[in-house]
Each structure stands twice: as C-alpha cells, then as structure tokens.
C-alpha cells in the first residue's frame, strides 16, 4: 500500500511543481498513401491520418482526468513527406493534407514535413526544401525538419546551404508574425526516428505502421528536489537526487504511454526522457543549473552542470521505462525557458556558450532569435557548426533559428504560449559566404582515435 507522504508528494509535484506529461505523439506511417495524382494523394493522406488518430485527443483527455496529471500536447508524426510525395512531385499537397487532418483530429501540431538528406538529395527532397516557405506560411499546424548530417554519412553542405536560405525565406514569408514560420522548422544532424517532440517529430522510415511515443517533462520537480534534498551537498548527492526524481517522472510517462497504447489499440513505441521546460515560472531547466550554484545560466561551469544533469536524467529514466528513445536529454530552448530568456537578456548567455552546451545535452541551438539582417550564409554556417558537433560526437543536434525581420540586438520577439519570447542574440559579423558557397559534402568522421 502506498503511504500518505508518497501520495502527498505526487499531488504536490503535479499541483505545485508543474509535473506534466509533455506530449503523447502518435506516429503514423504514410507509405501506403503514395500516389502520382495530387488529389488522390491528398485524400489518401487525409483519410489515413483522420482514421488512425480519430480517438487520440479524446483518449489523452480521458487519461488526464483519470490519473489527474496534465497531458499538455496531443500530436501526430508521419512518414517524411519527401518520401510520400516523390511519385507525385509536389510535396505541398502533403502539407495541406497534414494540416487539414491535424485540424480534424484536434491535435495542435503534426510533424513530418521532412527530408532526410544527410548523404544526398532526391528531386523530391529538393522540392520539399524549396517549398518550405510556402508550406510553413500557408499551413497552421504542420512542422518540418531536414536531416542534413549524420555520423556515418558526414554533412551534406549543399543541403546546409539550401536550409540556410530556406530559414531566411520562411522568415520573409511570415514576417507579419515575427517570422513565426521559422519556429516550425528544425535542421538536424543524426535525427532520431521516434522523437515525439515538435517541431522535429517525424515517423521514421524504420518505424512500424503506427505507434505511441510519449515525451515527459518536469524541470520544476527536479529543481524542487535539489532545493530540499541536495542544498550545498557534493555533486554525488546532486546526481543521485536527480536520478531518483527522473525515475519517478519517467514512471508516470511510462504509465501514460502504456495506457494510451492499450486504449488506442496501437503499439507502445518509446518514452522520451527529455526535461522539457516551458516559459512559466518554476518550469525551467536553466534554474536547475543555477540551483547547482551558478549565478546565471551561461556563466563558466554551465557546461559541466548541464552534462551532469543530462546524464543523471537518463540514468534515472532508463530503469523506469521498458523502451527509451527519441531525443532523451535536457532541452535548452532559449525562448521556451524563463531562466534561459533572462540569461540571454542579461547577456550572461551567448550563442557561443549555447553551442558549447549543446555538446553535452539534447538537442541544439533551439528557438534562438537573431537579427533580421543576418545573411543566409551565416545561418547556414551556424547550422554547419551545430551539425559538426552532432556528427563528431555521434549525437543528435539541431538548429531552430529565427532571423526576426526588422529586429536587432536589444529587441525581443514575442511568440506567445509555450513558445515564449526570445531576446535577439548577437551573431558574428564576419562572413562565411565563401565557405558555404563551396557545397559538396564534409566526409564522415573517423570513429577511432577519439581525441
């Protein structure tokens, strides 16, 4: 029998420390929908998604109610659109069908407007990247990702150049909304096939017909545990405390994943052990780092603190779930974390320090706003740097960057809701134009002689 203090601890985590399940994401294969005719392709995709995910949102709401824990997002990920659209040649059809199906099923985002181009691009991949400004400015709920690098294939620098340009063009196409379209594009290295988190979720080519993936959250719970159980203690105690807390959080994710999969009659995929922050007070990853003794996130010591946090969350979480996958690591999106926002605003956190932090955690330069006049080649170079970190360290990295039109250092961009707000961060004024213009591929790195 569970005792009183354990019951009250769970209740407190939910009511005061903002414990929630961040997302239930249903992965749906669209292979069967491929068709050369646009109209037929649209209908097949729409029907497939709306049939498969008809009960997703309702089931999520039932689980919230019965277990008394918020499930913040119910979402869908699908097979990379460039594969599904290859026969038809027009990927935007897929985006429109995805958007309509998302609205019908009631999910807030649908991911998978994706191209996997780490080794090279098919005509369909090129068409998808070229269509990004149109697709992301004319749909509401479609999220997109492009995988431009992997440890085994190297970096596709042609794709990196195209993505840098695409980011600029999306910003221009959605300039009335402060380049909000850029929030819906993630450029990856070593993208994972079962990530439940947007905007980078897609249902990978190696996945089955349909599955349920769950993303956990809970930075507030971890911070509270450190405050009460590890105040002033050595790092051994800090690591142990985080592990125990991560175990509890993950068990809730596992329970919800199992229940959702059972009620929807769909196999359970994975639990993603990511500490996902929100802009709300008390739900910040940066504040956990500061609780360890840093004056402000971004000061010297931040990378070490983050490495400890990231590792301890995984160690605690793996035992709590039968299948762990996705991105699984601490997220450090600048605009979506109040501690990160404040650190960027005060100048404690620079883009260079963020890049260093991405070497030891999931997932990369996420939700970064930069001046609107940043050249496409500089954005491409930022993507290339981040991809290189992922490629060499055999980990996932990503860039989600917003060159806010008309904004410069000292300004802020307000995205609203879970996306928060982002102070414009300084980029290097020196040009990478000729570097990016070369194109070609950066070869895959050696996997031995690891220094």
């Amino acid at each position: 029998m569970i005792n009183t203090s354990e019951i009250l601890q769970t209740v407190r985590m939910i009511s005061e420390e903002k414990l929630d399940v961040r997302t239930i994401t249903m992965g749906i294969s669209l292979y069967e929908c491929a068709h050369p005719d646009k109209k037929e392709l649209y209908t097949r995709i729409y029907d497939r998604i709306t049939r498969q995910a008809a009960n997703l949102v309702r089931t999520g709401e039932e689980l919230e109610r019965e277990f008394g824990i918020p499930i913040v997002n119910k979402r869908i990920s699908v097979t990379p659109a460039s594969l599904v659209a290859a026969a038809c040649g027009d990927p935007v059809v897929v985006a429109r069908a995805m958007d309509a199906a998302a609205k019908e099923t009631g999910v807030n985002y649908i991911g998978g407007y994706t191209a996997l181009v780490q080794k090279g691009m098919t005509p369909s991949d090129r068409a998808l990247i070229a269509s990004l400004p149109e697709a992301l400015s004319t749909t509401e709920r479609v999220c997109s990702s492009v995988n431009v690098a992997s440890t085994r294939a190297g970096i596709d620098m042609d794709a990196v150049r195209l993505c840098g340009q695409a980011v600029k063009d999306i910003a221009e196409a959605t300039k009335e909304q402060d380049a909000a379209g850029c929030m819906k594009l993630v450029v990856f290295a070593n993208a994972v096939e079962d990530n439940p988190f947007m905007a980078g979720a897609f249902h990978g080519p190696g996945e089955g017909d349909c599955c349920i993936n769950v993303g956990i959250s809970g930075p507030g719970v971890v911070k509270h545990a450190l405050e009460t159980e590890a105040k002033g203690q050595p790092f051994d105690v800090v690591a142990e405390t985080i592990k125990k807390t991560a175990f509890k959080i993950t068990r809730v994710g596992q329970l919800i994943a199992k229940e959702a999969s059972q009620r929807l009659g769909v196999p359970f995929g994975i639990v993603d052990l990511s500490l996902a922050p929100t802009p709300a007070m008390g739900d910040s990853v940066a504040h956990i780092l500061e609780e360890m003794g840093l004056e402000a996130c971004g000061c010297h010591g931040t990378t070490a603190a983050l490495a400890l946090l990231n590792d301890a969350v995984k160690k605690g979480g793996v035992m709590a779930s039968s299948h762990v996958g996705g991105l699984s690591g601490a997220f450090i999106p600048v605009s979506e974390d109040i501690g990160m926002i404040n650190a960027a605003r005060s100048g404690a956190l620079s883009l260079e320090k963020l890049e260093a932090m991405t070497c030891v955690c999931s997932v990369g330069l996420d939700m970064i706003a930069v001046p609107g006049d940043t050249p496409a080649s500089t954005i491409a170079a930022i993507i290339a740097d981040e991809a290189a970190i992922g490629m060499v360290n055999s980990k996932t990295t990503a860039v989600r960057i917003i060159p806010a039109p008309g904004k410069t250092i000292g300004d802020e961009v307000e995205f609203g809701g879970l996306f928060g707000r982002a102070p414009i961060m300084r980029v290097s004024p020196y040009s990478a134009e000729q570097f990016i213009a070369r194109g070609g591929r950066i070869p895959a790195p050696l996997q031995s002689l690891k220094n």
Binding site: E6, I7, T10, R65, E66, F67, G68, R251, Q254, L255
Partner: protein, 91 residues
C-alpha cells in the same frame, strides 16, 4: 503493472464541519466503496486521503461531482487512479 480498480481521493483545505460526510456522500452516490481513510487537522488545515474501490463507478461522473463539491466547500479535492502512485513510488 497490476490493473487496479481503486482511486485515491485527496482533500486539502481549511477545516470545517462535515467535510468527511460530504465527500463520503458523493462517493456513495457514485458507487465508490471506501477502503481506507487517513485524516489529520494541522493548524486548522484539513488533510485527508481516501482509498476507494471504483469497480462500479463511472470515473468521469465521480470526478465531475467532486469538482462541484470542491468549489462549494472551497477545498482542493482530487480523484486519481491509484496506478499513478504505484508507478511513481514502487519498482
């Protein structure tokens, strides 16, 4: 994990007369059988945890009724399936 048909009811707030009676009344009306009660009052704050059998209960209706009572009494009342507590605190 073992599938249970029990729920945990937690009630927290300023103590007044008749809280247990009112909560129990709602449980009775929704065919929820009380298995265990633990209750304390500390500096005027009422704390109660009930374990109830909900085999015959329609969960959504019980939860709605508790939400109404929660507003009426000015207390925090939560009804949650037991599995979430087992999951979090037992290996």
């Amino acid at each position: 994990m073992e599938k249970k048909n029990t729920a945990v009811v937690t009630v927290v707030g300023v103590d007044t007369c008749g809280i247990i009676a009112r909560v129990s009344d709602v449980l009775w009306k929704h065919d929820a059988n009380i298995l265990d009660i633990s209750q304390t009052v500390l500096s005027g704050m009422f704390n109660m945890i009930m374990i109830v059998d909900i085999s015959l209960t329609r969960f959504a209706q019980l939860e709605d009724a508790m939400a109404v009572l929660s507003v009426e009494l000015g207390l925090q009342i939560r009804v949650q399936r037991s599995e979430i507590f087992d999951a979090m605190h037992r290996i």
